[in-house]
Subunit: 357 residues, 2 copies
């Protein structure tokens, strides 16, 4: 069965890391006899520059037709002067919404070879393996009404709407319970039910759904406490499920616990299993064009793609093992190199993973 | 001039730590010849049990009349079954709003004696001194409309409104700039202006106001990045200013960086300099009644009270120095004791501070 992958390199280092991940995908296709066609398209600032739109219709059309999408990163200060609707981030938010990618999986995994890179003491993070499941197409990111209005007294006021319906909550919670059942068997649902009505409903629906998963343990935590517990004792968590905004904040904090934001992949899935796979890090304009970027987060995103959208978990395992191997060999890009270590380039790292497959 | 302080011990360990702080305040009054009367009242679960309301009218009346308020902590699982409007937290939210306490100051300071208690590596936190300035009476905490409604298709939806007016933003930003001018001279304003219109206005107003403070350096940061930077390199921050919700999350994360949530005070101020002073930690039902609670956060809240509401900065300095001294003496409550150390009780700690004044 022929499957198709759309490449959306995006901006800055996105252009450097996606080709490395593509090499890895090509080699996995050979090894596992997969018939995968690839195409590419523009998104973000690159799309704005070429077509005046951070998500051109042609890109969206190709995206809808693809079985999976590999995205680099979008954005950068060069686009900050643009009207909000034309900014690179808007392209990302729109494609998530258009494709219905409600389920954002963000693992925070501590690679044993990189424990020293963490800000936290080794005993607190060695063996860390958290999966953050963030709702991605609802909440305050997309709630209406929103905007800036002028009040009667003449001053302006900015407003947004935080909103979740029962079905939106149930859908993301179900994904979290199902993923938890296949790993540590624990879900921590994060809300602010002592203050926000929207999350009172969240807590209620998640609790109700838990009855369908007797083998999964459910805990509720307020978001302020969750932020604190992530710093205090992160290994207490298995799967964390939360809304769009809280997930944005907590997943970045969790990622940083591992000391290696350049290592962390993500998947954003819709109900038919189609997904966008992308590194958790951004487009890093400061190091773009220098061959310094770490391609491993993007390469590991290919592994998630094989697992969740392309039906080839063995290929996913193979990539993850190869990444472990190159780390064991001591190979490091600049972001994860130790003080007196030698770093290799983006493409050297890509080649090393291909060789280790 | 006679001044008045209202004590609101609240629930659980609140009842144990406030008396210790009261001892310290009494001794400072003697030393600095201050004429301060104290009274006390009920709030939170204790008030609900006695009067069926977490913020009785009599408490609010006394609070309005006081120059400053010292609060212990409110809440606990015993009250979770209550209707939301009757819960202890609601008493806290209401008193903040009724008194107009828009400016919440939450220092995160690393005590040199406690560096080992931090989750972070010593070099990342030693000398840490951040001040988080959180807007406390607006944003999504109080925005209207809010609630849970039933949609046409029969399912329910929970919703809240994130809203800030120009004057609300200007007021809290001004406080942050003024505080920054007296310390490190740097303000980091945290928003999510790439997604939320409410925070687009926030960024605009803060930027505008910065022109009035040429000696203070202003930086803007997205909240997800701020959460990450707090873990990665917290010493990059001086003053952080942000809205109610983001401030709730970031201040808890920042507090935990110091490894000693039992050590951190807070102040919540209104435009006339009146304030509620309270520890950052909660009511800790699990250790209540055992004499184990750390009273230092509450004692340090008295120091903030002397500085910001009672016009006695020398008394504040004196308390802070005394706390440093008891830590130097090796005195520790259970929450900050080292693995093989001996811990002292709540009242022993209170007495030690009084002796060191
Ligand atoms: C770029 C931005 C709009 C985006 C978000 O907030 O979702 C990013 O922070 C992320 O987490 O993918
Ligand atoms: C108890 C709760 C309502 C409160 C808040 O969210 O403001 C608390 O977390 C705090 O930070 O003081």
């Amino acid at each position: 069965m022929r499957q198709s992958v759309l490449l959306l390199p995006g901006d800055y280092i996105g252009q450097e890391i996606v080709p490395e991940a593509q090499k890895v995908l090509a080699r996995v296709c050979e090894l596992y006899d997969l018939d995968i066609s690839t195409d590419s398209a523009l998104i973000g600032g690159a799309a704005y520059e070429a077509e005046g739109d951070p998500l051109p219709a042609s890109t969206l059309e190709k995206a809808r037709a693809a079985d999976a999408i590999l995205l680099g990163a979008v954005g950068g200060p060069a686009f900050d002067h643009l009207d909000r609707d034309l900014r690179p981030e808007k392209g990302l938010l729109r494609i998530r919404s258009e494709l219905g990618l409600f389920g954002n999986l963000r693992p925070a995994i501590m690679y044993p070879q990189l424990v020293d890179a963490s800000s936290l003491k080794p005993e607190l993070v060695s063996g860390l393996d958290i999966l953050i499941v963030r709702e991605l197409t609802g909440g305050i990111y997309f709630g209406q009404p929103r905007g800036i209005r002028t009040l009667e007294n003449g001053e302006r006021e900015g407003f947004n709407t935080y909103v979740y319906s029962e079905s939106e909550i149930r859908r993301i919670a179900k994904l979290a319970f199902e993923l938890a059942a296949k790993r540590g068997g624990r879900v921590c649902s994060v809300d602010k039910a002592n203050v926000l009505e929207a999350t009172v409903l969240w807590r209620e629906v998640v609790t109700e759904l838990a009855a369908d998963y007797p083998n999964v343990e459910l805990e509720h935590m307020y978001v302020d406490n969750a932020a604190m517990q992530l710093v205090r004792a992160p290994k207490q968590f298995d799967v964390i499920v939360t809304g769009n905004m809280f997930g944005d904040i907590l997943s970045d904090a969790a990622a940083m616990l591992t000391g290696s934001i350049g290592m962390l992949p993500s998947a954003s899935l819709n109900e038919s299993g189609q997904g966008i796979y992308e590194p958790c890090h951004g487009s890093a304009p400061d190091i773009a064009g220098q061959g310094k970027a770490n391609p491993l987060a993007t390469i590991l995103s290919v592994a998630m793609m094989l697992r969740y959208s392309l039906g080839c978990p063995a290929g996913a395992d193979c990539i993850e093992a190869a990444v472990g191997q190159v780390l064991d060999q001591g190979l490091r890009t600049a972001d994860i190199v130790s003080r007196d270590g030698v770093s290799i380039s983006t493409s050297e790292m890509g080649n090393a993973v291909v060789a280790a497959l």
